[in-house]
């Protein structure tokens, strides 16, 4: 018998570890699990229509989680809709204390009662990410469509913090709350939680782009870039930003190769390469996840390379565009093409305003 050995992987070698154990074998490592599409809020920018048909049962969810653990999945994001609308969410959280993952929870925080907070704390989640759309009730509630939602959300953030649950204040910037961006940062600081702001809009799941009009205007987006560049406006403090590194989208035509180590399971059991690229590769009710994942149907996505982006590669702003194959697919049905409304128009506007330099 060899001597028993224990080895800690230094952070600098994480990439090699992931490459060796997961990436090179297309082994799923990070799964985004949408437990429901139901939601108690009606946010103006949401990509779902809040109907949840053929939702997975409690037992089906337990079976899937067991399959995922056996396959080696480490990171599990529980998402919705709003997961706390599920009547069995307490049972699911209890199950995850036995079948363990590194868990992140996405929620609007409005339905978190004392029992749920206790269960989340006991689960020792990596974090719980709570969506916030303003620094005051009037602005936040106008976006969620539900009066009183702001107070409930903020109350939950305080209670979770008191229970020592790591909370991420997930701010989303839209046309209607743009003026409150600094107040929102101040609020997150007052609450004593980490924060991260996003402003990238995603068309609706059915391809409808009507929700995009709720996003930042081009002028507002230019202002954000200007403030980050000139004033050092910090849009996220949940990760260390190295000196000289931009906190804005990386750009570079982004080749993310979904479906290799990242995947998504929808509320009806459909499996997708990622939460945004809603290209169904199978359903968990018909085949175990492992068999679905083995498909070569999504190899063009898994092994996508810059030269595959025929139309985009000729574009003058490809080097700093933050294209997303999922957004392109939702808009046009072609994940290798551009996303004219969500992405192209925004980045072209930034170039025209000289907020980013195409040279």
């Amino acid at each position: 018998m060899d001597t028993c050995e224990y080895k800690a992987i230094p952070q600098s070698s994480y990439e090699d570890f992931i490459k060796d154990k997961y990436w090179s074998k297309n082994r799923p490592m990070n799964i985004h699990f949408e437990l429901t599409q139901k939601c108690n809020l009606r946010c103006i920018h949401c990509l779902f229509n809040h109907e949840s048909k053929d939702e997975l049962s409690t037992q089906e969810i337990f079976t899937i989680l067991t399959q995922l653990a056996r396959l080696g999945v480490l990171n599990l994001t529980l998402s919705g809709g709003e997961i706390f609308t599920r009547k069995d969410i307490g049972e699911i959280l209890d199950f995850l204390r036995i079948q363990r993952f590194i868990v992140s929870i996405y929620t609007n925080g409005t339905l978190l009662n004392a029992s749920f907070i206790e269960k989340v704390a006991a689960l020792k989640t990596f974090d719980i990410q709570i969506s916030v759309y303003g620094a005051t009730s009037d602005v936040h509630d106008a976006i969620t469509g539900i009066p009183g939602s702001f107070q409930k959300t903020i109350k939950s953030i305080r209670k979770l913090s008191d229970a020592r649950v790591p909370v991420l204040f997930k701010g989303f910037l839209l046309e209607k709350n743009f003026q409150q961006r600094r107040q929102m940062i101040k609020l997150a600081n007052e609450l004593g939680v980490l924060y991260a702001f996003d402003f990238n809009m995603i068309p609706m799941e059915n391809g409808d782009i009507k929700n995009l009009s709720a996003g930042l205007t081009n002028v507002q987006l230019e202002k954000i870039y200007q403030e980050v560049a000139e004033e050092g406006l910090i849009l996220r403090n949940n990760v260390k930003i190295k000196s000289g590194e931009s906190q804005l989208p990386k750009g570079g035509g982004v080749i993310c190769n979904p479906g290799r180590i990242n995947g998504c399971i929808g509320s009806n059991g459909d499996v997708f390469p990622c939460p945004i690229l809603r290209l169904t590769i199978g359903n968990i009710r018909e085949k175990p996840f492992e068999e679905i994942w083995e498909t070569d149907k999504i190899d063009p996505i898994r092994y996508m390379k810059p030269s595959d982006l025929k139309e985009c590669s000729d574009c003058s702003i490809i080097s700093f565009c933050n294209r997303c194959p999922g957004v392109a697919y939702l808009e046009t049905g072609n994940y290798l093409g551009p996303a004219p409304f969500s992405v192209c128009s925004k980045y072209k506007s930034l170039v025209n305003a000289r907020m980013i330099d195409p040279s």
């Binding site: 018998m1 001597t3 224990y6």
Partner: protein, 89 residues
């Protein structure tokens, strides 16, 4: 730790067997640890049901080594895991 002690893994750790090797991840900081073949086998046995004598007997059947050498190795390994806070108190 004596022969009748039943070591048990920390219940909040996330661990997986990948290609025959155990990978352990701490939920708070996502720190990753890996175990080699022999270490992985012991890890799967320290479930709170087996004492050191039982684990030694199992490994003696699986590996062609002297019992005393195996037991010594197990003790060193368990102490190492304990110091790294990977076992329940």
């Amino acid at each position: 730790m004596d022969n009748e002690n039943k070591p048990v893994r920390r219940s909040d750790l996330v661990w997986r067997e990948i290609d025959g090797e155990v990978v352990i991840i701490s939920p708070d900081n996502k720190a990753i640890h890996t175990l080699n073949d022999a270490g992985s086998r012991i890890w799967t046995l320290i479930n709170g049901d087996s004492d050191v004598n039982t684990i030694t007997a199992i490994l003696c059947r699986e590996f062609d080594e002297k019992e005393e050498d195996i037991k010594k190795d197990i003790y060193e390994y368990l102490n190492n895991l304990k110091q790294l806070n990977l076992l329940e108190e």
